[in-house]
């Protein structure tokens, strides 16, 4: 029978299945960070259970870490305690940990792929909803809560109920100036925040196939923003070229065997999906969010919407509330909205290609006077690569602030925060109220738009700067 890639990867991980019960799935890679793991390790200790597979478990410090002066101890005592707790737990249970200052340290969803740990056909989990990022490799990857983190630590499995299969096809070719971020923001506009609930999505079609691995990760990263459990993209030569030679990728004869297997991870002709969305890629212009959930998006060329234009009363209500929180007036051109802070980073857009795209815009230009900017590479390796290419000099010459790797202003658990009422153009994935600091106003954009906005002072695309 014709199968989707979703079924193929799912089926090969079923350890135990019984009628009317969730399936027990084996987990190939468990990524751990400091925020969602302390209570899980505590649970293991309390029940006297060992960690089943320390060798399939990898940890990093990312959410709390400062992005400046990292040779000093973390100033916030509660953040420091959380990081120290992770260090003690990893030490006690024998888990490999990448600590602040290590070249391999970084955002959990950046380091997995870049070290070659994330591979096609795997199941990958982490106590973090953006684990969907790893689906870009044709892995089945999803975020879990702390109870499930403990479950994976103890059993290397998870109980999972069947999900719908959702196909998201992006046809055609992207216009010049549009990026992977614009693709996923446009998908969010089409699906809304709940359109993927109960489903695993496969992204497909010529636009997706033409994306680099970095771009595919950006798209899969935000699967959770429309409610999908996971997003996947079939592995192809782009995937294999990215993986070959990375530290944890298979080598020699194993590489050949892996390739043979990975090439089979495609949706068969004639396989059916439960839901389907088709977008015309040639119509996707640069996008941004205007509201307080990621489904509230529009092309940058649009105006702030009027809540009355929404038919659904809940959407109308949500729009009115969002405009109030965001301090926006219906009808204002989005391009006229002034911005205080630009944040380039997060597991959505902090990889080398994202930094190259932003640097290309920044080169030879100057950040608008008074604008705060943060460029936060996703990992120590990204930072080193960017510095080797001279990107940091381009950024600093243009007036951008070049920082150390971590989650930073994506969720403001470290000192990088918006002040109340401050407005940001951010390459991250969530524009919830207070996400980047209490009272802060977040607009999600691509790295190129973020850089152009830093220079223009109001929302802008690179083309607007000419």
């Amino acid at each position: 029978m014709a199968k989707t890639i979703i079924d193929k990867v799912w089926d090969r991980h079923v350890v135990h299945a019984a009628e009317g019960e969730p399936s027990l799935l084996y987990i190939d890679l468990h990524l751990v960070h400091e925020v969602t793991s302390p209570q899980a390790f505590d649970g293991l200790r309390l029940s006297g259970r060992p960690l089943r597979r320390p060798d399939l478990t990898v940890a990093t410090e990312d959410h709390n870490v400062p992005t400046a002066n990292i040779d000093q101890p973390i100033a916030d005592p509660i953040s420091r305690k959380q990081v120290d707790t992770l260090r003690a737990n990893c030490n006690e249970f024998g888990v490999k940990l990448y600590s602040m200052g290590d070249i391999n340290q970084g955002i959990v969803h950046v380091i997995g792929p870049e070290l070659g740990m994330t591979q096609p056909g795997m199941t990958v989990v982490c106590g973090d909803s953006h684990t969907s990022t790893h689906g870009a490799f044709g892995a089945l990857a999803f975020g879990i809560g702390t109870s499930e983190v403990e479950h994976v630590l103890a059993t290397q499995t998870l109980q999972q109920s069947a999900q719908d299969r959702m196909a998201i096809t992006v046809n055609g070719e992207l216009p010049v100036g549009s990026t992977a971020k614009d693709v996923v923001l446009a998908i969010l506009g089409a699906t809304d925040t709940g359109g993927g609930i109960g489903a695993i999505a496969e992204f497909r079609g010529p636009v997706i196939e033409a994306l680099s691995m970095e771009g595919r990760m950006t798209v899969c990263n935000m699967s959770i923003e429309f409610g999908a459990k996971a997003g996947m993209i079939a592995p192809d030569d782009t995937t294999f070229a990215y993986l070959e030679g990375r530290p944890h990728a298979p080598k020699g004869a194993e590489w050949e065997a892996a390739l043979d297997d990975w090439r089979s991870l495609r949706t068969d002709d004639g396989a059916t999906f439960d839901r389907e969305i088709i977008l015309d890629g040639s119509a996707i212009a640069p996008h941004m969010t205007w509201g307080t959930n990621p489904g509230q998006v529009a092309p940058i060329s649009a105006n702030v919407p009027n809540p009355d234009q929404f038919d659904d009363p809940a959407a109308r209500d949500a729009a009115a509330r969002a405009l109030d929180y965001m301090g926006l007036t219906a009808g204002t051109p989005l391009r006229d909205v002034p911005v205080d802070t630009v944040f380039i980073g997060s597991c959505t857009n902090s990889r080398i290609e994202d930094l190259r795209a932003a640097a290309a815009v920044a080169e030879g230009r100057q950040v608008k006077a008074g604008m705060r900017t943060l460029v936060v590479p996703g990992s120590g390796l990204v930072k080193a690569q960017a510095e080797a290419e001279g990107l940091h000099t381009i950024f600093t010459n243009a007036g951008f602030d070049w920082r150390e790797p971590g989650c930073s202003m994506c969720l403001a658990m470290n000192p990088d925060k918006l002040a109340p009422g401050e407005r940001s153009a951010s390459t991250s994935n969530r524009n919830f109220e207070g996400r980047q600091g209490r009272g802060g106003r977040t607009h999600l954009v691509s790295p190129a738009v973020a850089a152009a906005t830093a220079i223009a002072g109001t929302f802008a695309t690179p083309a607007d700067l000419d």
């Binding site: 350890v15 135990h16 019960e21 969730p22 027990l24 084996y26 190939d28 925020v35 969602t36 302390p38 209570q39 505590d42 089943r52 399939l56 959410h63 509660i78 953040s79 305690k81 959380q82 707790t85 795997m122 973090d128 909803s129 879990i144 809560g145 702390t146 109870s147 499930e148 403990e150 479950h151 103890a154 059993t155 290397q156 499995t157 109980q159 109920s161 925040t193 709940g194 609930i197 109960g198 409610g227 459990k229 194993e254 590489w255 065997a257 892996a258 297997d261 307080t292 959930n293 809940a314 959407a315 209500d317 949500a318 969720l411 658990m413 969530r430 919830f432 207070g434 996400r435 209490r438």
Partner: protein, 194 residues
């Protein structure tokens, strides 16, 4: 976790859609390494505002939270569930939950009551009109009832989840009953996956 069969009491109407986990428990609170003490963080940014419904004396002592669609959307933080529970809620009613939140709820014995839109709206309106409206949620029968407004509706729970809620079962212990299958599975994994 503690078994839960019946949740009976009054409710707080939180009448907005897309209440995300960043609102339920703002990120400052995620720095704790303990599993308790999250009640103070529940909706802490909204609670600082004067007219937030949780501050309304009329709803003091309620043990059910009624939310709009997409309740619990966003991050995987189980802290959101702990905060709601530790504040004193035993069940949340919504027409649609964020999936990770819903799953986390069932792991902790917080009953996610996913009802149709009309039922959710009737309950929201009923509680707004009368804060003392008595609501009964029956986990075994999968029903939610508010006799004073003539409301009786059903909600879905998978048989496995229902069984676990009713018996307060530990997932890990259940999974470890399949340990020999996990052992066998591990011998079949390709060598390059270690």
């Amino acid at each position: 976790m503690e078994p839960v069969a019946i949740v009976q009491g009054t409710a707080v109407p939180l009448d907005r859609s897309d209440v995300d986990t960043d609102q339920i428990i703002p990120s400052d609170w995620l720095k704790r390494v303990e599993r308790t003490g999250f009640e103070k963080g529940l909706f802490s940014e909204w609670r600082d505002g004067e007219d937030f419904v949780l501050n309304d004396e009329q709803y003091a002592g309620a043990n059910i939270l009624i939310g709009g669609p997409n309740f619990g959307t966003g991050s995987s933080r189980e802290h959101a569930v702990w905060a709601i529970q530790q504040f004193g809620f035993a069940a949340v009613i919504s027409p649609r939950f964020g999936p990770i939140f819903k799953n986390n709820s069932t792991k902790n014995g917080l009953v996610p009551v996913e009802v149709d839109q009309a039922t959710a709206e009737a309950l929201m309106a009923g509680v707004q009109a009368d804060p003392t409206l008595e609501i009964t949620i029956d986990v075994e029968r999968g029903t939610v009832e508010a006799p004073a407004i003539g409301l009786s509706a059903t909600f879905d729970l998978s048989p496995t989840i229902r069984h676990r809620l009713l018996n307060g079962l530990d997932d890990i212990a259940l999974t470890l009953q399949q340990e020999s299958k996990i052992d066998a599975f591990e011998t079949s994994r390709p060598s390059y996956m270690a």
